[in-house]
Symmetry: D2
């Protein structure tokens, strides 16, 4: 399932596009979507999961990222950014983010990344995998995924 | 007068700081204030003055810019950005912008720039100077300046 | 084949990392790799293919992008960026870019995007597909791909 | 004295402009000069003065910054960035940076900032002021300033 409408988004943020975000074609420069994806995911980890970027003894390494583009957002204007979690594995989390121009229904871009949780000192996965303090607050974002509570069995 | 409190701000914007805005000290990287200053001024020109970045036959060249830093804003969090106009000259406009971390009274940074309005084709000032379509919607932002309607005569 | 060593790179650029590129972990913020990927590809189009971002009657829309991360680059320091072309289709081009910290052998990130060439006015693909002026100068970048001149037949 | 030609620059860096640096007018977005200024100064502090952003017990707070614009640089292309030191005070350092488009004589922008060296824990200036480990390697950059060795007495 692609997060192509507002229906499966469970955490959201509003971003005022900046003039620096626009490219020569008067549209959001593509890498800016990566900045928005990175920001909403880490905001959730810091503000909802209590993750400390300076003090925690585990870190979430990004293994790979992707983005699919369906339209062009622009400055000036507000962007709506929505986050869901696709899968929580033993040591990994897959996130998906959708970006909308405020007031328009069609999604502009859908992207995300896979994060591997490792020990900060050794850079290696641990038996605990995704720390419980991270895992639990991420579960409500599984809406619409195969791991969602009450997901249809096929 | 320095725009050091909320009292003289007449146009505002909210910005969600992005993770890319933070520097190695977990604070907003200084040049990011320049991005915010640039964004609120041009948003006002485009959205309130009807300025067309692609079609207008005059452009506003930035002659110089400055920023004074009083504290450190940070991601994650919302930033309040406020704009006022310090002076409208024959061909120039001086803007001042204040940046606050939402929910905190103390201003984090105050900066701005001076813009010279020129003909797009020749890059030279014209007899008209600041176009009337720009000048009129900027006047309400003169609150607190020497040019404000009703400003105290010394 | 993944462009994981210097051997298949045919166009290169050097980038001095900026302080703004670093994140709170003192490493390049992940979306910055997207900026580097975007920059080397478009530099090649502008400088080697003569592409005019303002005047050409066709544009290259990015359909999707990806990046795989193998290590962490950092400011201060120079980055080596290498470009190759994976495939030239009728209307599409697939690019792959590798990023190295200068002086280190291991690749830090490999990413790229797929670009669809369309008419600027209609946003639709044309019978010509990828314009010849773009297609020809891209061919030398096919080194190591299935379309490379002299590629092994299976 | 304004650092308006190559003659008083004593530390330099080359930057490949990125596509994200350009604004809607196909020129470097003004705040990007702030990124370049910030980068060359901190590169010098880290690479030549041995400053550790994570471990040093003093930090350099930026009190204010400025930039004067004389022309427009652009992507794609290389930028030459030059640094000099205007003044080393008891606790403060004033830097000036000039940005050139490679191959062009006329300077595009001249800017800088004033940095106050404080104790990392208390955020206050110390009797030592600018640490000796920082002060000594900065002295060769005073070329052309009133503090330069051999500067003309008036």
């Amino acid at each position: 399932m692609v997060c192509s409408s507002h229906s499966h988004i469970t955490a959201t943020a509003n971003h005022a596009a900046t003039r620096a975000d626009n490219d020569m074609f008067h549209h959001l420069n593509n890498p800016i979507y990566g900045v928005l994806i990175d920001s909403i995911i880490n905001s959730y980890l810091i503000q909802r999961c209590g993750y400390s970027t300076s003090g925690a003894n585990h870190i979430g390494l990004v293994a790979n990222s992707y983005c699919d583009y369906f339209g062009a957002a622009h400055y000036p204007g507000m962007l709506d950014v929505g986050l869901r979690v696709v899968k929580i594995g033993n040591s990994s989390v897959m996130y998906e983010v959708a970006v909308f121009q405020q007031g328009e229904e069609q999604v502009k871009a859908v992207g995300g990344f896979t994060q591997i949780w490792v020990d900060r000192a050794t850079n290696k996965v641990t038996p605990e995998g995704v720390p419980k303090s991270i895992r639990e607050p991420l579960k409500p974002l599984l809406v619409g995924s195969e791991q969602a509570v009450g997901a249809a069995k096929l």
